[in-house]
Symmetry: C3
Subunit: 303 residues, 3 copies
């Protein structure tokens, strides 16, 4: 494993191995000697303080140096091509680039064009993949339910544009999940459902929730709602928001997940986000452990 | 002591203890092993490079990791509530949040709502408190005069809106000061002077300076001057600026302090800011030591 | 050596010593114990992610703390004078300030006015000097050719406004180079060529390339082209761009350098920038080693 670009091609055993390593970090805490003398650079073309901070904390807890490459002020504004930026950063002898970009497959393109053995870690590309989010969601489910095979997992929201949904489906499927239900208004369902083969796709959230073990609510981006001629916030909430009444349709111990930041009253009710079944903050904690595991695996593979 | 929110409620003995610890750091320098494995996050909702840098340097000199959370690019811009930001950061297992906010008592509100034992350090909230500034001003005075009990201390400028004035008065009073004189044009005096009980309040700067041992000049913010229908810079300087002639009204060894950044020719003459009686740069140095002491006290209390 | 402001006054032996120390770092890698307990602050008044990142990585690889002072959000926006900023930073007990400013000699001015033994390192001032660039260019040439005395070195582009050209000429001359050829359209040649005494100045790039051992292409800034009533990109490239045909006029093993970021198709053809004779990425790598050497020399001089 040289890069982490997507979970789509990762075998279940590899994903399970990463999750075990993340669980190790959860138990044992930092390991400051592991990545001493390694340099990790955050290359974010889209703002994301949460994910960047999570990677930064993860890398420091393993003893790595972390450099934030601020692109709003960078020489890319002087017309430097992305390829030249890549090779320039490689020449500074970096060990890993954590990349977020609004274009699909840009991290793969960087990995293909790298001249050195720098590890490329996809921190979210367009609507395509967000592999560490998929891993942390799987880790959060496994923290409470050892086995995904018999779980009914609902993912609700803007499936069409969601890299989170895609990486979640890849992770859960690889780990044996057999009952994944995707739910959204028609405008936010994928145009071609073949990429979600094996999942049940529907527009009826109440039905989808029936006896569910896990429900993952996706963030609604207001720009997209307008573009898709979607109803107002309150109408969306009425049809697709997760409130206590709806959650009661699921299994009694159904877990609630959300990649954050949440829109209270748009896709999720405050009482549910803050409620006993919410695992949203576990996700954030697990995000650091999963990123430690990914960095460790790529830069300090176990013998 | 779990948080540092204001000096108002801190006993003199506690303040003295913090100042002694700061003096220790001044003497002994860094102590890189003290906060190893601790993470401090700077959460600044108002820009302040000076104070942020001072905290960053203080934390690093104790061996802590420091993460700057850049709010202009953060997910709060995506509509995340402050409470969700707090809990998200807590879930990343931070040890301290250094918070600056333009609303009074926001750090207290965060402390009340914290789920973990994260320490909240107020780095300035609205016009209410700036406790590390109060401590560093007290430390600077004590560096030259062991005892505050018999000192005449003048604070001049925008008392009404000044969190520095408030924290100074709390610190000095707790340490035994009995002669604190507040001076400002009427529009910049507090509406209700009861919060400054025990201080003498006046509009006559020359009279206030009589035989003073310490004079603290506050920064004038031009926005406020306009709003208060204050006279032009030069008129303000004529009435409330500290120049050599006025300083001669004070005791011969009167110290001059200013929280910075200074407006030369507005509230203070360059010759005074740069003169032999100025302790402005001592304040900056002491700022790092006081912040080391606060971080040490909160995260590594002495047995 | 207390500061690094320009190479103009540095003896060849000192420059050679710095290059040897940089070569040591290239061979031996990091030396994390060298600058422990030292603090380096990046004070950039002009954006430059590349150079700032190179200094940041260099300082961290020697174990120093690095603080980035973000001036777009700093208290200089509150009207603080540059001198007050300098003294404030000094009072925080910094060991080195890495300064970039668009005015010539601003780093020298800071060095003159410093109150402490803080080291000022010029990271580029106006059109005057960029000493670490001069050093890294010399290091890159020496990496492939031990001796500069018999080399023909061409520098082509906006000589008039180029701090890189000036520092290159100072470095190469001090190291014994005797055949330096400067080439540009008239509008971009220096008004007074006396500062480039000893160099051959011409407008004919083809002639200048004759049997050259090194060619350094300078970045063309489009703002400057318009101001100088220069022809369009494609016309500039036709006359002064380095393509394969032109490179063939030089010696067969002629090295190609560029300080980056490059404008492909403006001053250099992609095939040349990416070709076998290009040493552009060596320059980036050497930039880190040279900056390690400068920081080490200033903050931890060898006995």
């Amino acid at each position: 494993m040289r890069h982490l670009l997507t979970l789509e091609t990762l075998p279940g055993a590899k994903i399970a191995h990463l999750l075990e390593r993340a669980e190790d970090f959860r138990t044992r805490g930092r390991q400051r000697d592991l990545l001493v003398d390694r340099t990790v650079l955050n290359l974010f073309f889209e703002p994301s303080t949460r994910t960047r901070t999570s990677f930064e904390i993860a890398a420091r807890r393993l003893g790595a140096d972390v450099v934030n490459f601020d692109l709003s002020r960078s020489s890319t504004t002087k017309g430097e091509s992305l390829l030249d930026t890549l090779h320039t950063l490689e020449a500074m002898r970096l060990d890993a680039l954590v990349v977020r970009h609004n274009e699909n497959r840009m991290p793969d393109w960087l990995a293909e064009h790298a001249n050195t053995d720098v590890a490329i870690i996809n921190a979210g590309d367009g609507s395509r993949a967000h592999p560490t989010q998929g891993l942390l969601d799987a880790l959060t489910i496994r923290q409470h339910r050892r086995n995904l095979e018999n779980l009914a997992i609902v993912i609700c929201g803007d499936i069409r544009h969601s890299r989170v949904a895609r990486s979640d489906v890849h992770a859960f499927t690889a780990l044996g999940a057999r009952d994944i239900r995707l739910c959204a208004p028609r405008a936010l369902l994928p145009e071609d459902t073949s990429e979600f083969a094996g999942c049940v796709v529907s527009e009826d959230f109440d039905a989808a929730l029936d006896n569910a073990d896990v429900v993952i609510m996706l963030r609604i981006q207001k720009e997209r709602m307008a573009a898709a001629l979607l109803p107002a916030d309150s109408d969306y909430f009425a049809q697709y928001g997760l409130d206590a009444r709806r959650l009661a349709l699921a299994a009694p111990d159904c877990m609630v997940l959300h990649p954050g930041p949440i829109n209270r009253g748009v896709e999720i009710a405050g009482e549910v986000a803050d409620g006993a079944q919410s695992r949203i903050l576990d996700q954030v904690s697990n995000g650091v452990f999963v990123r430690m595991a990914v960095l460790a695996e790529l830069l300090a593979p176990r013998a």
